[in-house]
């Protein structure tokens, strides 16, 4: 009986410890810990071979993650770009990466950060979707399907 109680107690302690710390963050990759929410791109404009993908990156962990690059077969090059508006002048620059703070959601949205698609092989058409891979500093990758939406701005 004592041995049985000891086993029950052991299971209890085991459950308690792992119940309190259900997800051990260390050892989990960035791709596991960051959710990519509502990705989209706008349909290509005539004659324009540049595109941009937008999304929200939700860091569910208690640790910092870092997006460093992206790849997509639809474009000759894929880069992470950001905008800064200062003194009425809009400046766009290539980013070395985007910080994803612990427990925070980072928006990639018009006027801010975006994944820039350079040299589109085909125009992006409304209703289609395309694959995009987000690459984090730890080398892990999130595979995302990006739907293409129309250009009209809600009134």
């Amino acid at each position: 009986m004592a041995a049985f109680m000891k086993t029950i107690f052991g299971v209890f302690i085991f459950s308690l410890v792992f119940g309190l710390f259900p997800v051990r963050a260390a050892g989990q990759s960035s791709a596991d810990m960051v959710d990519v929410v509502t990705p989209y791109a706008r349909a290509s404009l005539p004659g324009v071979s540049m595109g941009a993908a937008f999304m929200a990156l939700k860091n569910n962990s208690g640790e910092h993650h870092y997006l460093v690059s992206a790849e997509s077969p639809v474009a000759a090059a894929t880069e992470i770009h950001g905008h800064v508006m200062a003194d009425g002048i809009m400046r766009m620059r290539k980013m070395v990466g985007i910080d994803l703070d612990a427990g925070h959601t980072r928006l990639l949205q018009p006027g801010g950060f975006h994944v820039m698609l350079i040299g589109l092989k085909q125009p992006l058409q409304q209703g289609q979707s395309f694959p995009l891979e987000l690459i984090y500093r730890d080398g892990s990758r999130d595979k995302v399907t990006v739907p293409v939406i129309g250009r009209n701005i809600p009134e």
């Binding site: 706008r42 404009l45 005539p46 004659g47 324009v48 071979s49 540049m50 595109g51 941009a52 000759a76 090059a77 880069e79 770009h81 905008h83 508006m85 009425g88 002048i89 809009m90 400046r91 766009m92 620059r93 290539k94 018009p110 006027g111 975006h114 820039m116 350079i118 040299g119 250009r151 009209n152 701005i153 809600p154 009134e155």
Partner: protein
């Protein structure tokens, strides 16, 4: 008083009288200064796929909504032109016919008039896509205080980008700027500015 002095006096009297009459005539017929922002803007002549377009000659009598940008701008210019188009669609058909939206590319190196025509038309049917030689563009942009600067991005596949101001200029039928909409102004507010220009010029 000699005869010579008398003639001189007479001439002075006539000149004074004329000057006085001229001043009073000018005062009574004072020309109203044009309404709007006259310190910037003015006439321009640029190229479209259909030929030369001059503000005074070809667009006079309509309200013009003008934006400076470049076609490969991935998000700021399309957003602004989308807002301009959404604003126009809030107007009645009759009002829309009295408004000419114009996109001017400050990137003639990458944007030719054929490309700009298709590009502008994709936002709003009839939107003009204009550009010109870089010297002409520089002059027009300067007069409208539209700021742009080519910036090489050496580590990027795009080669260079253009830092730029993002403003919609609402020009009255008289060719004078009536109002400006800064970047990110909502379509309804842009529509209100266009309507005000339709009513006041």
């Amino acid at each position: 008083m000699t005869k010579k002095q008398f003639v001189w006096l007479g001439m002075i009297a006539v000149m004074s009288l004329s000057a006085g009459l001229l001043v009073s005539w000018l005062a009574s017929n004072r020309i109203e200064p044009p309404k709007g922002i006259t310190s910037i803007g003015g006439d321009f002549t640029l190229q479209s796929s259909q030929g030369t377009v001059s503000l005074s000659r070809d667009l006079g009598g309509r309200v013009v909504a003008l934006y400076f940008g470049f076609a490969s701008c991935p998000d700021v210019c399309p957003t602004s032109l989308g807002i301009m188009a959404a604003a126009l669609r809030q107007l009645s058909d009759e009002q829309q016919q009295q408004v000419q939206p114009v996109f001017v590319s400050v990137d003639p190196e990458r944007d030719d008039v054929e490309k700009l025509s298709l590009y502008a038309d994709a936002f709003y049917p009839g939107m003009l896509g204009l550009t010109a030689d870089s010297e002409v563009i520089r002059d027009v942009a300067w007069r409208y205080r539209a700021i742009y600067k080519k910036v090489p991005l050496e580590d990027s596949a795009i080669g260079y980008t253009i830092d730029h101001s993002s403003i919609i200029y609402v020009i009255g039928r008289n060719g004078v700027i009536q109002s400006l909409a800064q970047h990110g102004t909502a379509p309804a507010e842009v529509a209100a500015k266009i309507q005000a220009a339709l009513l006041s010029t």
